[in-house]
């Protein structure tokens, strides 16, 4: 812990290659030391005012140019602005951990959109060739695949949300996210994941949050992006997507795309997505669903990557 210039206790953390100075405790994140003036993001606990005249809204969120607000009933209200500030307003005592689930999820996604990252609904792992992103819907097995790779000694860069940073030289970079994974009870059991490190995400919910010890210090350039497609066939099949299919799929699997639209990034996001599709190989991987097919899927993906 360090003190900032105003003597408020501030914690220093690192995620997505961003130096985060936080007034709220973030025990799940990696701690680090840096000068207060070097912070990229400041997280504060303070009252949050509702966004007036939003351009895009959901039932629990509002957005307008450069601003985002999320309201989680009985837990917290979040305001995200300028790509460098998150304000958290707790709505009830004792809700800190629950609030962090939404902070690390939607609030951070809004922040990353504001910083012009390409934010994908994807888990990602580090290989000798670079990062591989597994994109898909809830239930398509993104986290399960990443956890399976972790058990084979690979580092998990991100679980569920992977951010790609567009670099000045026109390339992309996958920074390490949070050392956290979210796994369902059946996967934890099947992978014999250490239960002691798992905490339920919600009362009676199917998912558990678990510490992900393999988070690397450094990120990597993306080697390929795969879109997971569950299928009946036992065989795992790769299909390279055409440029149009690739752009469409990338837009479709952008994490919280409507946030980006609401904050005024529709056009720039699209342009950046086209660049991403030009730079990185993009595939569809049809594979049988179910935990019993996990090893076959991993082996086939490794074979594909290593043999390329």
């Amino acid at each position: 812990m360090l003190c900032d210039q105003n003597s408020t206790i501030m914690q220093h953390n690192l995620a997505y290659d961003l130096k985060i100075k936080s007034a709220i405790d973030l025990p799940e994140l990696r701690s680090c030391f840096f000068e207060p003036s070097e912070a990229d993001v400041i997280i504060s606990e303070r009252a949050v005012e509702t966004i007036i005249a939003p351009t895009e809204t959901g039932v629990a969120w509002r957005a307008k140019e450069g601003q985002f607000e999320l309201y989680v009933k009985d837990v917290a209200r979040f305001a995200v602005s300028g790509g460098n500030r998150i304000d958290v307003d707790y709505l009830a005592p004792g809700k800190e951990r629950e609030a962090r689930i939404f902070l690390f999820g939607s609030a951070f996604a809004a922040l990353l959109h504001q910083r012009r990252y390409s934010v994908m609904h994807a888990s990602s792992v580090l290989t000798s060739k670079g990062s591989i992103l597994f994109c898909g819907l809830s239930g398509d097995g993104k986290s399960t695949l990443a956890a399976g790779f972790a058990q084979r000694g690979y580092s998990v860069l991100a679980d569920d949300v992977t951010a790609l940073k567009y670099m000045d030289d026109g390339t992309f970079w996958t920074p390490p996210a949070f050392p956290l994974s979210r796994l369902c009870g059946d996967v934890i059991e099947a992978l014999k994941w250490p239960v002691s490190s798992c905490q339920p995400m919600a009362l009676e919910g199917p998912k558990f949050e678990t510490f992900q010890p393999t988070l690397p210090e450094e990120g990597a350039q993306p080697y390929c992006i795969v879109f997971l497609k569950p299928c009946v066939d036992e065989q795992v099949k790769f299909r390279k997507l055409s440029p149009i299919e690739a752009v469409e799929s990338l837009v479709k699997r952008t994490y919280r795309y409507r946030f980006a639209v609401g904050m005024g990034f529709r056009e720039s996001h699209y342009k950046q997505t086209i660049e991403l599709a030009k730079t990185v190989s993009i595939f569809e991987v049809s594979r049988p669903i179910g935990i019993k097919h996990l090893n076959a899927s991993i082996e086939r993906i490794i074979e594909f990557v290593e043999g390329d």
Partner: protein, 278 residues
């Protein structure tokens, strides 16, 4: 078209067929349609759809909590920029745990209930759920049945409370919403009449030549052929084919007398209500 139409059906009752017809009639002047790109709202239990509106991962929250938000999502679909805001659901009409109608009157223009003989559903549902006909009948006769309702796993769909076949039908029959019923069997026997009435309910002007074309170009066999050549995104990924036989009355040869009896016994009143002989 102001307000949302709910296209409600028990699974495997012909919902996709109705949407294919409507897509052809409303958007393609009666020509063929791409079953993977029907221009209507998604299945409203898709997590992607719910999460988009919530701005949060529904899988991170207790189902009960997500359920509380759903009436508001549904009442706001009227804001969608869809030309025809028609949304598919397999859920029954019900109140959420805090007493609100899951399909609220606000923003709803009406409901189209697609009904099919439960004895034929049993045959089709067995394939859809990768179970036996016995297993499908068990599902159809189970009170408060929830599809994809496992507590230790997350699926692409939020658990769908269909209820039993009779509960499902009764819930929509008693819903305080403007309603139209279309029977699967009538779509086969007299498609002109069945689809004309549907269009009338949806307040779409009738164009006989387009109607004829839409019926011809969305026949079951054509949809089935399209699935065979291009696949169908709407199917359960565990099954090979979504479109199987499509005929009416297959139960006569596919179900045993005791299986038929189990369905009739539980659903006698509604079988009679919808005009099915037993």
């Amino acid at each position: 078209m102001k307000g949302v139409y709910w296209l409600a059906s028990y699974p495997k009752s012909g919902n996709t067929w109705v949407r294919a017809f409507l897509a052809s009639y409303l958007f393609r002047m009666g020509q063929g349609v791409d079953i993977n790109a029907l221009p209507f709202g998604p299945l409203i239990s898709q997590r992607e759809f719910i999460d988009d509106w919530l701005g949060m991962e529904s899988a991170d929250m207790p189902d009960e909590e997500v359920d509380r938000y759903r009436p508001e999502i549904h009442s706001r679909l009227v804001e969608s920029d869809l030309e025809y805001p028609i949304y598919k659901t397999h859920e029954r009409y019900r109140l959420t745990c805090d007493g609100r109608a899951i399909f609220p009157k606000e923003g709803t223009r009406g409901v189209v209930l697609v009904v099919r003989d439960p004895r034929d559903i049993a045959h089709s549902l067995a394939n859809h759920l990768q179970t036996s006909i016995e297993g499908a009948i068990e599902v159809m006769n189970t009170s408060s049945f929830v599809l994809d309702g496992r507590s230790d796993s997350v699926f692409g769909k939020f658990p769908e409370e269909t209820g039993s076949w009779t509960e499902h039908a009764n819930s929509w029959l008693s819903a305080p919403l403007r309603r139209h019923i279309i029977r699967y069997e009538d779509m086969i026997l007299d498609p002109i009449e069945a689809f004309s009435s549907l269009l009338d309910f949806l307040e779409c002007p009738l164009q006989p030549s387009v109607l004829k074309g839409a019926i011809e170009n969305t026949q079951f066999e054509m949809l089935k052929r399209q699935e065979a050549s291009k696949g169908f995104n709407g199917k359960n990924p565990n099954v090979r084919n979504f479109f199987k036989s499509g005929e009416a009355g297959v139960w006569n040869t596919q179900l045993t007398p005791s299986q038929v009896a189990r369905l009739v016994l539980k659903n006698r009143k509604n079988l009679s209500h919808f005009g099915y002989c037993f």
